[in-house]
């Protein structure tokens, strides 16, 4: 099942709704890196609330997505990691370093707004 990507003003929101195969993950990566340029987005939110497991491939793909999107000039936030999933991940040594995380969609949007403010201040 392809992951729907919604455009919300300056941000893109991808909500993963069920477990994804490796191919679908790569599809998501390609779609996000393309659309972030097409819509001139400033931020991307990937919502993983529905996932009850995040394996090493998925984590690495999400980390790659974040790095790629940073190169395309936008910020990425992963939101909605469940407590059990989070602990299972760190036990496997998957810590999603250098990727921003937030509790849920709302927090993720708040984080992106804050980042935008910060950048605006740096520029002026």
């Amino acid at each position: 099942m392809a992951v729907p990507i919604l455009k919300q003003s300056q941000y893109l929101i991808a909500t993963i709704q069920s477990a994804l195969s490796d191919a679908e993950l790569l599809q998501l990566r390609d779609a996000l890196t393309q659309q972030v340029g097409r819509y001139r987005s400033r931020g991307v939110i990937v919502d993983v609330t529905a996932l009850d497991v995040l394996d090493s491939f998925a984590s690495r793909t999400l980390r790659d997505v974040a790095s790629m999107i940073r190169l395309r000039g936008a910020e990425t936030v992963i939101v909605g990691i469940q407590p059990e999933v989070a602990f299972a991940m760190v036990q496997l040594g998957i810590t999603l370093e250098n990727v921003a995380t937030a509790l849920d969609l709302e927090e993720g949007l708040a984080y992106l707004d804050q980042e935008k403010l910060k950048r605006g201040r740096e520029r002026s």
């Binding site: 939101v79 989070a86 991940m89 760190v90 995380t101 937030a102 509790l103 927090e107 984080y111």
Partner: protein
């Protein structure tokens, strides 16, 4: 467990001769119930057992123990006695009755009854032997059952209290909107560490926390597995979008952690709880100032 029966041939209902002897024995014990019970209660007092209970209470319990004892002898089944022993233990454990006391009174009863059998059959040595052959295994079995029941009950209570302590020992408290503190006091074992992590991660979700202060002032010592667990907890919290500040590392713990080489680079540490909360407020954008310095309300 003491309830299982029938494995040992000596305790099985056995031959007709044995059961006839047992029947006679039970009749004897029923007949002399008041005197034997009185003597038993007397000896309990003399031996200074059950000192936390009043004389009347001891007598009342003695009566029902006596009746259950005789019944177990008669029927040769120990389930009822075992249930009774657990029930009794539940009542007397909170009064501070110890294992040696319970075992002591059951052994006293065994001796009192054995004495009365000696007195009854002293003229007929052969008969006395047969009666004791029937009586002793059953009596030992009863002592076993009662002591086992008592210990089981005590273990259950200890287990229950441990659970209660665990639950009470790791409160996750919200001190401001988006700010949680987790004071840890006492010894952390791996079970408690796991529970702590679980409660913290749930707490972050439930309170929508953005910053968590973990205060370990009250932790005396920490080994490498607990320290690593703490690091994992910090990382898991970050995956939920909350940053963690650890406060109150004692000099000993600091030295231990550095010596065993736990990587604390990812951990944000502040000296004490006050500093931790101030830092958290800064991160969250709060500014606290004394009322006198605040601008006057117009």
């Amino acid at each position: 467990m003491a309830t299982r029966k029938g494995d040992d041939p000596a305790n099985a209902p056995g031959t007709d001769a044995t059961s006839a002897v047992l029947r006679e024995l039970v009749a004897h014990l029923r007949q002399h119930r008041p005197a034997l019970r009185e003597e038993w209660a007397q000896r309990i007092t003399e031996a200074r057992l059950l000192t936390t209970m009043s004389r009347d209470e001891v007598f009342a319990e003695a009566t029902s123990v006596y009746d259950n004892y005789v019944e177990a002898l008669e029927t040769g089944t120990f389930e009822a006695l075992h249930a009774y022993a657990r029930n009794l233990s539940e009542r007397i454990i909170p009064r501070g009755v110890e294992t040696h006391e319970v075992l002591g009174i059951v052994l006293l009863l065994r001796d009192v009854l054995a004495r009365s059998l000696f007195a009854k059959y002293q003229g007929d040595f052969d008969m006395l032997n047969r009666v004791l052959d029937a009586y002793e295994p059953a009596a030992n079995r009863i002592a076993n059952t009662v002591a086992g029941g008592f210990l089981e009950e005590r273990e259950r209570i200890i287990h229950q209290q441990q659970e209660a302590m665990r639950e009470l020992s790791t409160p996750v408290l919200q001190v401001r909107e988006r700010l949680l503190i987790l004071p840890i006091i006492g010894v952390i074992d791996s079970k408690r560490a796991r529970q702590l992590t679980e409660q913290l991660l749930r707490g972050i979700r439930a309170n929508r926390a953005r910053v968590v202060v973990i205060d370990i002032t009250g932790v005396a010592a920490m080994d490498s597995s607990i320290a690593n667990h703490l690091v994992l907890t910090v990382e898991a919290s970050r995956l939920l979008g909350a940053s963690v500040i650890v406060t109150g590392l004692s000099p000993e713990i600091a030295q231990t952690l550095v010596r065993i080489g736990v990587n604390l680079g990812k951990m944000h540490t502040v000296g004490d709880l006050q500093g931790g909360i101030e830092e958290a407020e800064r991160v969250l954008g709060y500014k606290v100032q004394p009322v006198s310095e605040a601008p006057p309300l117009s």
